[in-house]
Subunit: 438 residues, 2 copies
């Protein structure tokens, strides 16, 4: 639209100058950021497709009650929740409860096992520090309806394929595996005797070990106002158990005939068969910070130990029951976009993602415009990404912009070309020029 | 994980049975819904790519002030906003203000014109009725920094390409085009004289014409407590202007030498050159319900007149200024997922979207499992989508599930096959079976 008519329209009072930054802890995605994000998500999607997982999604706003549990989890304390028109709502903090709700809503009609994946944005209200935002994206893969550790093996193998495709190897990333069931078996006849309900908050507390250290964890476990309430000696024994770094060490503390230990052995054997055993280590200190895990748990870390967990997951066989649904075993993981991108950037593994721009079409004047439009249309219908110069640009500026945008070719139509029904095509990579019939 | 260890863990008190439905007005996307959504979004992305638009994104939660304007727009009244930790936040109701904020934040460093697109989820808090939800997805394409109607032509042509690829033609959908600048020019020396600020709320009011009828619009325009405050005769004259259905009719009311009329003529000429003129009609009643439009506006409707607008857009040359930024002309459209999917469903044009599943790999017993895992790995690395049967299923059930899932092949490894280093491959489409070396 021409300037004059537009400018003549009623002037509105300008707003107070708005905040140019997105809300604290959130991100804008400019084209160059979006290309990296799309590249990463496409890679997640490809891996999920190879493993025959189906994509699902749920609303980013849910009933707050879906996310609220009472075991002292950080993720619940940091829930982004609000009341709107008398409804208590929350921005999704994690995808698993929504997936569980969806499974529950169609429990009778879904053929198990389900293999579902999702790539979702999750929110948590927390202090923002370097690399720690209030929203992040997460790739989730979940298997519902399979009791055996074959499900865990399948998921861990998918993670290693994704890491491999990102350019990482077992020397860069290790997946630390443990079993909450093993810990529970070990404590069952001791401190959990007569009070099994202490196990969930106990796991949530010892998950903080690497962040706050053994002393502080002991304090949490002994807190007389807390949910666990151990004696100091008991707490020290628990923390000591977490030091095991091999199945053999862990076996020493486990009760005879431990089923959890047998499952861990099976899992390591399966990972051998998948060819990804070298990515995985046993680590008794991994318990995960979410209350609902019941069995195998795992977390991937960079081997240099610089960053937070790249991804994490585990088995949560009783989540659906705890929500009032049928008992369906489940296992899943979440793989965020933040830490992996930090790691790839650190290692120089973030690929350059140039624009996918085939060509720029430029008419020298209005007379050549119909020919330029027709050419752009033909090239687009042939599948090429084509920028049509809209205004009356100068050739030099057009060439400069085309080059900067990474265009492969420029199609130039001047009066001579138009008269002869031709177009001049300049290849910006090679500098070659040719004249083609329109 | 085995059942026993899991079951023995501490029982938590079940929550009150949770609500199985997502919050009112929102949707779950089960795999079959997600396949349709991905198909539609991929098509939007392909068209945007052909037109050399770059994808961007912004947070779904923004400062509420970004969306709040005072012209009585429905979209502002229905803002999903809330206060959290003393911050007034809102779920994005439309993408344009965020895009404007992003342009403004980097105004100096961006090379114009920009061609940006986004596919975003937008929220509005309103009564839910059939096909009217509180969230929807919208494909946005915007051109920033181009004054001429070449930008409008480019966008309208992209919309027609998308419609065409969805299987629709000009007999199914018409794009109604008008110019707010033409209306403004026509009223400038009359009712807008000395009060140009009445123009925005006037447009917002007359946008309701098709919904509430001419009488109610006249009442709005005459409301002594409103922002427009016309005399009854003036209001009737305005509504009468909206009856024009051809450029010739509109020209009769326009002032001599009307620039807005000239731009409309140029636009129709350009659309002729793009080969999409037959998709477009002039319609003086189209003004759009958003306050910020300044020039050409357009809306696409099904020709049977059954549904709400499929998409809509226009020129908004002064939005950035009104936000306190530089004057950068802009034009864009939003194309929602709701109405187009209704229309495609009505016309039987929604394609069947089966799962993309190449094969199912099944080991008869534990002894054959390593061979099955190795085969699944090889097939996946060759790019095939492979489901590996994890438990100890029965062959009959496995075949049934594979068929139901739409798998092309089933790879069977029993003791005989494993012993000979072979796999039996059954093609579920043809029923043929062959034996191949592992």
């Amino acid at each position: 639209m021409g300037g004059k008519a537009a400018r003549a329209c009623g002037k509105q009072a300008p707003m107070a100058k708005i905040d140019l930054q997105p809300p604290r802890g959130t991100r804008d995605f400019y084209p160059e950021d979006m290309r990296v994000r799309s590249w990463l998500f496409d890679l997640f999607r490809q891996v999920a497709r190879l493993y025959a997982f189906e994509e699902v999604d749920a609303p980013i706003v849910e009933h707050a009650e879906l996310f609220i549990r009472k075991a002292g989890e950080e993720i619940v304390e940091q829930l982004y929740h609000f009341t709107l028109h008398d409804r208590h709502l929350a921005l999704r903090s994690e995808m698993t409860p929504s997936i569980a709700r969806m499974v529950m809503a169609r429990a009778g009609g879904l053929r198990l096992p389900l293999r579902w994946f999702a790539i979702t944005q999750n929110w948590r209200y927390e202090r923002t520090t370097r690399g720690r935002r209030r929203e992040h994206y997460q790739w989730n893969m979940d298997i519902w309806g399979e009791r055996g550790v074959g499900a865990e093996a399948e998921l861990i193998s998918a993670i290693t394929l994704a890491l491999e495709r990102l350019g990482l190897g077992p020397a860069d990333v290790k997946i630390r595996v443990n079993s909450r069931a093993l810990l529970e078996e070990t404590l069952r006849e001791g401190i959990l005797r007569n009070r099994p309900e202490a196990f969930e908050p106990l796991c949530v507390a010892i998950d903080k070990l690497s962040k706050i250290g053994p002393e502080a964890v002991c304090e949490l476990l002994c807190n007389p106002a807390g949910a666990v309430r151990l004696a100091p000696g008991e707490a020290r024994n628990v923390v000591e158990l977490l030091g095991a770094r091999s199945l053999e060490e862990a076996a020493a503390g486990a009760p005879p005939g431990s089923q959890a230990l047998e499952e861990l052995r099976q899992l390591f054997q399966l990972l051998e068969e998948y060819g990804c055993r070298e990515w995985v280590v046993f680590d008794a200190s991994v318990v995960r910070g979410l209350a609902y895990y019941t069995g195998i748990v795992f977390e991937a870390y960079d081997t240099q130990g610089k960053l937070r967990a790249i991804c994490g997951g585990g088995r949560y066989d009783r989540l659906l029951e705890s929500m009032g649904g049928a008992a369906i075993p489940a296992v899943g993981f979440g793989f965020g976009d933040a830490v992996i991108l930090e790691l790839l950037a650190d290692r120089g593994l973030l690929p350059a993602r140039p624009r996918d721009l085939h060509g720029v079409v430029f008419a020298f004047g209005d007379a050549e415009r119909p020919a330029a439009i027709a050419l752009a249309k033909r090239l687009r219908r042939a599948g090429h990404s084509i920028e049509l110069v809209l205004g009356h640009g100068k050739l030099r500026r057009v060439l400069q912009d085309a080059d900067r945008a990474g265009a492969e070719r420029v199609y130039l139509i001047g009066p001579d070309e138009a008269a002869r029904g031709e177009v001049k095509v300049r290849n910006l990579r090679t500098g070659e020029e040719e004249t083609l019939p329109l």
